[in-house]
């Protein structure tokens, strides 16, 4: 299909090698297993696969056809056309990790700019060149804390209001480390408060406290006391943040967070059924030699001209091998580029505007929805960003099934991951939604719950 060899060329090449047939190239492969018959459909031409892909894709419902109130870690934002215009340039997407700086300045400078943008966004000192996604970045934060304390502090405290899939990922990552305990995220007792609970658990065994901001329920919580107490006990604090929210909210750096991680998907990356997304990983300066993943640094070339290189590579696994603290060896290069282009296009004013629009529209939606009979806000006193929890008069699944007739994808069913939250829907609203869309949602909910 994409092999260019003509029969004549194959002959010539075999003659140079000194073999009679291409089969002879594989003499070292055990004969009984050599050249298996693969039970796969015969290859399709481009015309055929294009038609088939169209058919498969058409079997999905999309956020362009439906009004979608799903968030819970992935958000339906508008992506300026300029972003994909850059991402679809072969010079970027068909290059590899910039090992050779002389012919990789494009990628290197773009990532350097990404790092700068991330530090500005988060108020942190240092950003790496990115991780796989928000969940793995969060797990790497726990990993960093483990190694920071040379394995001596085994307790990782995680708030229950951290994205459940992130918490699962932390647990998976921690299984490789000896006797690490991940907790703090058990269901709250009636009347118990998350912050108080965490405060009560922080001690000198605690390596890190991980909180989310805004939290998984969309709430904007002041973690000042958590940070203070953690630091008092020498523990680290990681914020899991939503990058759009930082357009209008005080950043993790301002809370004196040690680590701030998040998923960069809202920064110009399509929903794409969950990936590829972008793991943002930023730290205070003191952890620069401890964070995993690539770092791009500025230097000069032999003529003294400004140039960029991968730096502090001595931390990485191909040099340190078994002594390195993480095995990550790529970053999420193209996605980091997407975020850099997105933030550059929106700029200072555009980014503030999108954050504010999300906030305003979500608040309008909350206001309208909570007026419906049988509906109420689960956390009526908590400030929130662009997502909020709605208590509804029947199961979320049932409501969502009915909403499909209205070309609406309802919010996330919290009972899937929080058994204690039956009949509670996590509703996300972005700048893509108009007042009419929200009003339609309200009207549809009124209808389906009235029946």
């Amino acid at each position: 299909m994409y092999t260019p060899h003509t029969p004549q060329e194959i002959e010539e090449m075999l003659r140079v090698i000194g073999l009679k047939s291409v089969e002879d190239l594989f003499d070292s492969v055990p004969q009984e297993y050599r050249f298996p018959d693969l039970n796969l459909p015969q290859g399709l031409t481009e015309l055929e696969i294009a038609a088939e892909l169209n058919e498969i894709a058409a079997a999905n419902a999309t956020s362009d056809e439906f009004i979608s109130f799903l968030g819970a870690g992935a958000y339906n934002h508008y992506i300026p056309a300029a972003v994909d215009a850059i991402l679809s340039r072969g010079e970027f997407y068909t290059a590899y990790t910039p090992y050779q700086p002389e012919v990789s300045q494009g990628t290197l400078q773009a990532i350097f700019e990404y790092q700068t943008l991330m530090t500005e966004l988060t108020g942190m000192d240092i950003s790496n060149a990115s991780h796989y996604d928000g969940a793995t970045a969060t797990a790497e934060a726990a990993n960093l804390a483990y190694h920071h304390f040379r394995g001596k502090r085994k307790k990782m405290l995680v708030a229950r209001s951290v994205n459940p899939e992130y918490r699962e990922t932390i647990r998976t990552y921690m299984t490789g480390l000896e006797n690490v305990i991940v907790h703090g995220d058990e269901p709250l007792n009636p009347g118990e408060d998350q912050i108080s609970k965490l405060l009560g658990m922080i001690d000198k065994e605690t390596a890190i406290v991980i909180v989310q901001y805004p939290d998984f329920f969309g709430r904007i919580i002041d973690y000042t006391k958590v940070v203070e107490k953690a630091h008092e006990f020498g523990a680290l604090v990681a914020f899991v943040f939503n990058p759009t929210a930082l357009g209008i909210l005080k950043p993790p750096g301002a809370f004196d967070a040690d680590i701030a991680v998040g998923d960069g998907q809202p920064l110009g990356i399509p929903l794409s059924f969950g990936g590829p997304y972008l793991g943002i990983f930023t730290v205070k300066e003191q952890f620069v030699r401890k964070l995993a993943g690539r770092l791009v640094g500025e230097t000069v070339d032999e003529d003294g001209k400004r140039a960029y290189v991968l730096t502090l590579t001595a931390r990485e696994q191909h040099i340190r091998r078994e002594k390195s603290t993480s095995n990550i060896c790529t970053n999420q290069g193209l996605m980091a580029l997407a975020a850099a282009v997105y933030l550059s296009v929106l700029g200072k004013s555009g980014f503030k505007q999108v954050a504010n629009l999300c906030y305003q529209k979500a608040h309008y939606a909350a206001e309208q929805l909570s007026r419906l009979p049988g509906f109420e806000m689960a956390f009526p006193d908590a400030p929130f960003f662009h997502e909020f929890v709605l208590k509804i008069p029947m199961s979320v699944k049932e409501i969502n099934d009915r909403l499909e007739e209205y070309w609406i994808l309802g919010g996330y069913d919290l009972s899937q991951t929080y058994p204690e939250m039956e009949n509670q829907m996590l509703v996300a609203v972005t700048e893509k939604m108009s007042k009419d869309d929200i009003d339609d949602f309200v009207a549809a909910l009124a209808e389906v719950t009235h029946d």
């Binding site: 092999t3 260019p4 060329e9 090449m13 298996p36 039970n39 796969l40 015969q42 696969i49 294009a50 169209n54 498969i56 999905n60 419902a61 799903l70 339906n76 508008y78 215009a85 010079e91 068909t94 700086p101 012919v103 990789s104 300045q105 790092q115 500005e120 000192d125 796989y132 969940a135 998976t172 990552y173 299984t175 490789g176 005080k250 399509p270 794409s272 059924f273 969950g274 990936g275 590829p276 032999e302 001209k305 730096t311 502090l312 696994q317 091998r321 390195s324 993480s326 990550i328 060896c329 193209l334 850099a340 929106l346 700029g347 555009g350 503030k352 906030y359 099934d401 700048e431 007042k435």
Partner: protein, 487 residues
């Protein structure tokens, strides 16, 4: 050629993008959380496009030229892949939609699982790992959990040949194992005696890259796996070099227990300047329930009128989630497209031509460069990038000089077991003409080394920049557009 940074291009007050005005009543922002606007650059759309277009011109890429970077499988990325993943039906679906509304996505993932199983000979595949190293971590954690479930917690030792990929040791230690390196024998195979002496009750497993980073197929692979199994260990296969085996050998057939697959190498999804990758993991039947999830399954077989109904499940003894959602779906779409277009014959053709190209190029290059393991290679080969008669010239100099000839350098100084290694992987999508041109450049450079070594040691001469000061980069750490004063 120095391109300003986006912050240097920024002008206070410039606006490149505007959103619609709010159409809802205004709500006050929460007290105590206010911030000034983030200090982002202020640029026009033209500023941004021109900046990143010009940056792109500073990159070498597969679309622009030959990229024989060993072990990275820089093959051509078909353009239909890019169209495929951008279809709104794929790109505009939210991962938490009801499964009734994403049957297209689930069907595609199910097929891809099945196909990778068939291609590799493994029983079950999970598509969730985000990259090769991420898949490796899955493999190591599965080995760990498997032994724990069998109450064999004394199995703490992972054997790693010195010809393995660099990530393997890091992965093992991240998973809490003790790493024991295994030497290679004089043919580049795993040294069987060394292996034997490590086959004891502390053996957790072996991480075997085959073909290894010398580009050589381990001639004793069946025996090696047998020995590990007999000792109660598991064998992890590093799938980074799978391109050479497509349609040639199914690793599952020879007894590998676990393997990851680099979709961005073997299955032509683009490398993206360092990601996103995708690293699905396949396992043998006995390990199927340890896989990370979610995995796609058929919930209802359907009938003549109704297609099967697909859903997701978490394996029973799963090591757990490796990331949010279901893997790099956009990348999976590209790999699906690629496999569907190739079919069994096309896949074998890839393996055959990848190996043919490597051997042809090796044959030509070895006339001027010392080839330490001189036997038929698989998809890549490693030569020494130095000559005794020109001690001042190193592998790095040859690499940099290749840039002047329009080629991306091979992988340098890896594997560590070859002195001044140059690791060359041409891939199957390159033509004989390109290989000939590369071989001619290598020959010319060998001659230049004798006649005018400065051409090499001062190279590159025609790249956007000259060699960089990496010591300064690490010492004066400047990691963003302005160095924080605290550094």
């Amino acid at each position: 050629m120095t391109e300003k940074t986006i912050y240097e291009l920024s002008q206070p007050g410039r606006k490149g993008f505007t959103f619609p005005a709010s159409d809802v009543p205004s709500s006050p922002l929460p007290k105590g959380f206010e911030r000034e606007a983030v200090n982002l650059p202020e640029l026009s759309e033209l500023d941004v496009i021109r900046h990143f277009t010009n940056l792109s011109h500073l990159n070498h890429s597969v679309d622009g030229g030959f990229y024989p970077l060993g072990s990275c499988t820089m093959k051509y990325n078909p353009k239909i892949n890019e169209v495929a993943s951008r279809l709104p039906g794929f790109s505009q679906t939210h991962p938490l939609q009801p499964i009734t509304s994403v049957q297209g996505n689930l069907y595609l993932m199910y097929q891809l699982q099945e196909w990778i199983q068939e291609i590799s000979g493994f029983h079950k595949v999970s598509l969730t790992p985000a990259a090769g190293a991420h898949g490796e971590l899955v493999g190591a954690l599965i080995i760990k959990k498997y032994h724990e479930d069998n109450n064999e917690t004394q199995r703490v030792k992972i054997l790693i040949p010195d010809s393995a990929h660099g990530t393997n040791p890091a992965t093992s230690s991240m998973s809490g194992f003790v790493v024991v390196p295994l030497p290679s024998d004089e043919r580049g195979n795993v040294d069987l005696d060394a292996l034997k002496s490590n086959c004891d009750e502390t053996l957790a497993g072996l991480m075997l890259t085959n073909p290894n980073t010398l580009g050589l197929f381990d001639e004793n692979v069946v025996e090696v796996i047998e020995m590990v199994h007999t000792a109660g260990g598991l064998v992890y296969g590093d799938g980074a070099n799978l391109n050479a085996l497509l349609g040639i050998l199914r690793p599952g057939d020879v007894g590998f227990d676990i393997m990851h697959f680099n979709l961005h190498k073997t299955f032509s999804t683009p490398h993206g300047g360092g990601g996103p990758g995708s690293g699905p993991v396949g396992v043998s039947e006995s390990l199927a329930e340890y896989l990370p999830g979610p995995i796609v399954t058929i919930l209802d077989e359907g009938d003549e009128e109704n297609p099967p109904f697909y859903g997701l499940y978490m394996p029973e003894k799963s090591i757990g989630r490796m990331k949010a959602f279901f893997g790099h779906f956009g990348v999976l779409v590209k790999a699906f497209t690629y496999i569907a277009m190739h079919g069994p014959d096309g896949l074998r053709d890839i393996g055959v031509k990848a190996v043919l190209n490597a051997n042809y190029l090796m044959e030509k290059v070895k006339k001027d460069y010392f080839l330490p393991y001189d036997r038929i290679c698989m998809h890549e080969f490693v030569v020494e990038g130095t000559w005794k008669d020109v001690p001042s010239v190193h592998a790095l100099d040859i690499s940099k000089r290749l840039i002047d000839y329009g080629f991306h350098p091979p992988t340098n100084y890896f594997p560590l077991i070859v002195h001044e290694a140059l690791m060359v992987e041409p891939t199957e999508t390159e033509s004989k003409q390109t290989l000939d041109a590369f071989a001619a450049a290598m020959k010319a450079i060998a001659q230049e080394a004798r006649e005018n070594p400065e051409l090499l040691t001062k190279a590159p001469h025609t790249a956007p920049i000259r060699r960089t000061d990496e010591v300064k980069a690490a010492r004066d750490l400047v990691l963003c557009c302005w160095t924080p004063e605290i550094l």
